[in-house]
Symmetry: C2
Subunit: 332 residues, 2 copies
């Protein structure tokens, strides 16, 4: 059926060991022999079986990415970075999309144990100590992107600084009544970014002697629709905010939608700033905090490959900078 190394060996009149050596670029093959083998490979259109190689090498040569694709719009950009880096390596990329906590738990349990992959990259999902302990035992390296655990290599952005930046930006524009709309700070997926940005928000307020008003922090399920409702809550207050910081651009869209429904405009009536700098933010002239998605993906893979090469490698924590992008919805 398929051409094997034996066929090539026979055709070239050599042993299979020699063919293997040629395949793997071993220097100890006479040049003339190498040519003969190469010719046989060519003539038979031979391709070594990756499965057999992997069994023999005791490596899977594949890396898994576990991510909540779709609950986070910016995910694609990160995945793109991941794919680009893996494509340059000898590894294959296999992906698991997590949209429910059940699937997450299943992935956390099975993926690193299944002898299926040499390493795991987890995006935006925070494992528990028990998960991490279990993974350590298997010896399969795990790297986190946009999530944190002290025992694992992580690539994060400084969301506290980002939250601070966005809030300070609004303060510097003269706002004092500043609201924050976010995902639930405590949520089943344990997404931490909303929480960190909240911390930055609170710090900025404190540093500028603006008292925090609990009613100005509205949390609800991620998404535009929910953010719209939360915004209406805010605008119904006796003392509505003059500026709203949304924990993501998607949510900022919901804010804008609510404003539109009330005939209000940004920034004149209410200033709005989002987070992520997703594709449409520029078109909408939405102020935001940009984070380096692509870069975080490439960096995550690079760290993971390092851990695969050298399992002794101590965990490394990389923090990527965020950048304030001031556009019309805050500065007019």
């Amino acid at each position: 059926m398929a051409v094997t190394i034996y066929d090539v060996a026979k055709r070239a009149g050599v042993g299979i060991g020699t063919v293997s050596r040629v395949l793997n670029g071993s220097p100890q093959v006479r040049d003339e022999t190498r040519q003969r083998v190469l010719a046989a490979i060519e003539e038979l259109n031979y391709r070594p079986s990756p499965i057999a190689q992997r069994l023999s090498l005791r490596k899977t040569l594949t890396i898994a990415v576990i991510a909540p694709f779709f609950t986070r719009p910016a995910f694609v950009e990160r995945l793109r970075g991941v794919e680009a880096t893996i494509a340059e390596s000898e590894y294959d990329l296999i992906v698991y999309n997590v949209e429910t906590t059940d699937k997450r738990d299943a992935c956390f349990h099975e993926v690193p144990l299944g002898h299926k992959v040499d390493g795991v990259l987890i995006i935006s999902l925070s494992p528990g100590d028990d998960d991490v302990a279990r993974w350590q035992e298997t010896g399969v390296p795990v790297v986190l992107v946009d999530a944190y655990h002290p025992a694992l290599s992580c690539v994060v952005v400084d969301d506290v600084a980002g939250g601070y930046m966005a809030t300070r930006h609004l303060i510097e524009l003269g706002h004092r009544r500043i609201a924050y709309i976010s995902d639930p700070l405590v949520n089943p997926f344990n997404f931490t970014s909303s929480r960190d940005r909240y911390t930055g928000y609170r710090q900025a307020l404190a540093d500028h002697d603006i008292p925090f008003r609990p009613a100005y922090h509205q949390q609800g399920e991620h998404g535009r629709a929910q953010a719209r409702l939360l915004t209406h809550n805010l605008l119904n207050l006796d003392d509505p905010p003059t500026a709203i910081f949304a924990a993501s651009d998607t949510q900022a869209l919901g804010v804008m939608e609510a404003l539109r429904e009330r005939g209000l405009r940004a920034p004149d009536d209410v200033a709005v700033i989002g987070y992520d700098d997703i594709e449409v933010a520029e078109y909408l002239e939405l102020s935001t905090v940009r984070q380096p998605f692509f870069k975080s993906g490439t960096l995550g893979v690079e760290l993971l490959l390092k851990h695969i090469d050298d399992p002794q490698q101590p965990p490394q924590h990389v923090e990527l900078p965020v950048e304030l992008i001031a556009r019309r919805t805050t500065v007019g």
Copy 2:
């Protein structure tokens, strides 16, 4: 090191054949024996090696998806459908992102030949006859989503009908000067959707006795920025269009941007309709043509699995319906 089937066999006091039978749910194992084996598996926390299974079974149990992730925003939704369906099967999903023609050619050449996958799903990329012929020889089934080839199973939407629908919608609103902005009809990736929608556009015009004006068809590289420039071209005409049909929502954003720059509004000054119904279209109240992305992904995988199960399966061509979504930018 790792626990193997031999360890389990020894522990359970049975032969490896029996362990394998238990693993694969063979009925011919005495119940008491099965319990003993199961217990041993549990105690040793054994997981069979997928690699060894695959080598033995002569199957890779993996499926490749080749797609231009990022040049097409709606891709994520399709990938989501693909992942969801594969996750229910015993297969793994490995992804290749194609952003250049070189990478595409490399993928087209190597992926189906490499003994790496049992099947290939290609999204939005049209292979040539030579590619297809080569694939047929290898016996690895290939299914196309959002692309077409007579010899392959395909899942497509009726883009001609979609283009027709959008154009007729504008005509019914009283427009006669209707422009079309699209990707280059002839392009290195051989994307066909712009071309098909163009065909629909031309047909609708013809059916309603509206002469086609070449200047009303503007083509340029995909993307918002380019569409914006093309729109300015249109608006600079002596006789500018009163309605613009953009081949994608992304491009429609560029159209809207250009209108905004000129102080024009949709639909009063110029009506605008896009294509795809991407996430933000609703927020922007953009009229558009919706296509079932998720469904196309699931269907593509289902077809592929069928071909893997039965290689004799003749190619099947599925056409999914599109739907006109009329919103503010056309109907006010």
